[in-house]
């Protein structure tokens, strides 16, 4: 029982971070209609940046976060202006390939500055020890949960109560109407990419603090697709719930089934199995609108 609860707690923490990263993906997909293959690369850069700021320069955590967020916003704006703006109105596949090229460039940056090494900054994030009965909550995990919850809540408030949040929701609904109403859609695109970078970077710093950072971390960006799909592709609340669910399920599956399998490693592939199941039986996800055309 303690084992199960331990898995659930770890899964919950991981799921919260997944949800955060998934939000970045969903926002870009909804607002600028771009299927962003590079989301995992944002996470990886976040992890490496976390190492540089916390592990190398020994900056305090709050300052590191502010620097990371500022840098993320700048990167988001640059990326949108240089690479995505010229692609407005181009075919879906072309935009996917542009984000793929972007992913390659970010990989190159990671190789250039950090030489794609395995780096850790264990124990540098603030830790809170908590144990309930037999289960001890690993300290990095708790801070991960808290930061993710704060970030997700802030984003929700942003979408619900600010003007630009409203405009972004409207753009997701119908871009042409928004343009007719005299709103610059390009601003929305820029903000959506900036948000994607910010949540990616924060997620990267959190994940890096838990398990170290390698260039392999970019695979999170693909795992997050399962979260997005399970939650319903156009639902922000859905991706939070789905992220937590998937994090827990993944940990339980890996904890109980891995010893039974010849080579293990179920955690890496579990989200994709969920993805196929969701696609076949419930393609609009748990909370998405049933807007998919039946063909």
């Amino acid at each position: 029982m303690a084992f199960l609860l331990q898995l659930l707690v770890t899964g919950f923490a991981q799921g919260m971070v997944y949800a955060l990263i998934a939000l970045g993906f969903v926002i870009v997909l909804k607002c600028s209609k771009a299927f962003n293959v590079a989301q995992g690369q944002f996470v990886m850069i976040g992890g490496y940046l976390g190492y540089t700021l916390l592990g190398l320069f020994h900056l305090p955590v709050w300052l590191s976060l502010i620097i990371a967020i500022a840098l993320a916003i700048v990167m988001g704006l640059i990326v949108e202006r240089l690479f995505l703006r010229p692609m407005v109105g181009k075919p879906v596949l072309a935009i996917i390939m542009v984000t793929m090229g972007l992913a390659t460039i970010i990989d190159a940056i990671a190789v250039f500055f950090w030489e794609s090494q395995y780096l850790t900054y264990h124990g540098l994030l603030p830790t809170i020890n908590l144990s309930v009965g037999e289960i001890s909550v690993p300290p990095e995990i708790l801070i991960g949960i808290m930061v993710s919850i704060v970030a997700v809540t802030l984003l929700m408030i942003f979408f619900r109560f600010t003007r630009i949040g409203l405009v972004m929701r409207a753009t997701a609904e119908d871009e042409q109407v928004v343009q007719i109403a005299g709103i610059k859609v390009t601003t929305v695109y820029a903000v959506s990419w900036a948000i994607a970078w910010v949540v990616g970077m924060i997620g990267g710093i959190l994940l890096g603090g838990q398990g170290g950072v390698t260039i392999q971390m970019e695979h999170v960006g693909l795992k997050v697709l399962a979260v997005v799909l399970l939650g319903g592709i156009d639902s922000i609340e859905g991706s939070v719930v789905a992220g937590i669910m998937l994090g827990m399920l993944e940990n339980i599956a890996a904890g109980y089934l891995d010893p039974l399998l010849p080579a293990g490693g179920l955690a890496t592939v579990f989200p994709f199995i969920i993805m196929i199941i969701v696609l076949i039986f419930r393609p609009y996800g748990l909370f998405g609108l049933k807007r998919i055309e039946r063909i």
């Binding site: 996917i96 542009v98 090229g101 390659t104 190159a108 693909l222 890496t268 994709f272 998919i292 063909i295």
Partner: protein, 350 residues
């Protein structure tokens, strides 16, 4: 502007012919002679590039039929290649089959796996289908790792080179000829397939699936057929790759390759068989140029040796594909047609 001025179709055979004018026949013969002469004149590394281009052409033709003609975007093409490669590798290495007996099985198995992952296309399209094929990529590679007692797992599986009439294709040149025969065959099959009833059905589904269904096309059946055919091509290509490297290992078929195959398709021009070939050649040569440029640049700037040089290579690769998409979105084939039209219309072109 498909044909030069003064070329008339006077009967059905002429109308249907792929190659119409004497000059086109001449160009084809010259191209084939150059292809045969290629191994005699180039360095070892260029010969390897030639082999890889041939294998990739086979694979990208499959992807072109699936994505370019039928409109079903697949981001798991490398995984289907892996299925083909492993099936023929296992049959040859563990059961002692000959390569040519194992190859059809490799294609068939890859096709069947493709069929399975094509099943979600019954209900979904667009973004959702992309996700299904991304899932296919990771699930297939994971299954290969799980079956390590027969696939060798992460350590890989040694695979013999093919044998023709007691003669093992040990040299690169001999393998180059075999790959090129397959590439030419695949091109002929693909080019003719898309002109048949099946190919026209694919195009109808790509352009408007609702209209296609109203016209009496079995949309789901043809989508699955597209998945099957596309993945058979991938399986054959994977088998050729594994027997060329003489080793099968999971890292040979990464997710990035799946995406780069799509990139090649876009760079060349989707929905055009020659476009696929253009894309493969252009991006593979770019890769080669980048690998050459890395050490050369580190000779001039010593700071660029080691990982930094690799980073510059990656950077150029990413930048080229982005610039390409921004400035040449219709692919190289479009530019090629424009150049041809320019010379045909000369001196009235501008």
């Amino acid at each position: 502007m498909d044909l030069p001025c003064g070329t008339f179709h006077e009967n059905y055979a002429q109308d249907m012919a792929v190659i119409r004018t004497g000059k086109q026949w001449g160009a084809l013969v010259i191209f084939l002679i150059l292809l045969i002469a290629y191994p005699f004149f180039v360095s070892d590394s260029l010969l390897s590039i030639g082999i890889v281009i041939g294998i990739t052409v086979v694979s990208v033709h499959g992807l072109n039929i699936l994505t370019g003609y039928c409109g079903q975007i697949s981001m798991g093409h490398a995984a289907f290649m892996a299925v083909g490669g492993y099936v023929s590798g296992i049959l040859c290495a563990r059961f002692g089959w000959s390569f040519f007996a194992a190859l059809p099985f490799a294609g068939l198995c890859a096709g069947l796996v493709g069929l399975f992952f094509g099943l979600p296309s019954l209900r979904i399209k667009g973004f959702y289908l992309i996700m299904a094929t991304v899932a296919a990529q990771f699930i297939v590679i994971w299954v290969i790792l799980q079956l390590y007692s027969i696939t060798g797992g992460p350590e890989g599986l040694p695979v013999p080179r093919p044998e023709i009439a007691g003669m093992v294709l040990k040299s690169k040149a001999s393998y180059f000829y075999m790959v090129m025969i397959f590439a030419v065959l695949a091109t002929i099959v693909a080019k003719n397939l898309v002109r048949t009833r099946v190919g026209r059905a694919f195009i109808a589904i790509r352009d408007n699936d609702l209209a296609a269904e109203v016209m009496g096309i079995n949309v789901f059946g043809y989508k699955l057929l597209a998945f099957f055919i596309g993945c058979v091509f991938a399986g054959v290509a994977g088998s050729l790759l594994v027997h060329y490297v003489t080793f099968a290992f999971p890292a040979q078929f990464p997710f990035l390759d799946s995406v780069w195959y799509l990139g090649m398709l876009i760079a060349g021009g989707m929905g055009s068989i020659s476009g696929g070939i253009f894309g493969v050649v252009a991006l593979k040569l770019l890769d080669y140029a980048v690998t050459l440029a890395g050490p050369a640049a580190s000779g001039i700037f010593p700071a660029l040796s080691g990982p930094a040089g690799a980073a510059v290579g990656l950077f150029i690769r990413g930048l080229v594909i982005i610039l390409f998409l921004i400035y040449e979105p219709r692919g190289l084939i479009n530019r090629w047609e424009l150049i041809k039209a320019y010379f045909r219309l000369w001196p009235y072109s501008r």
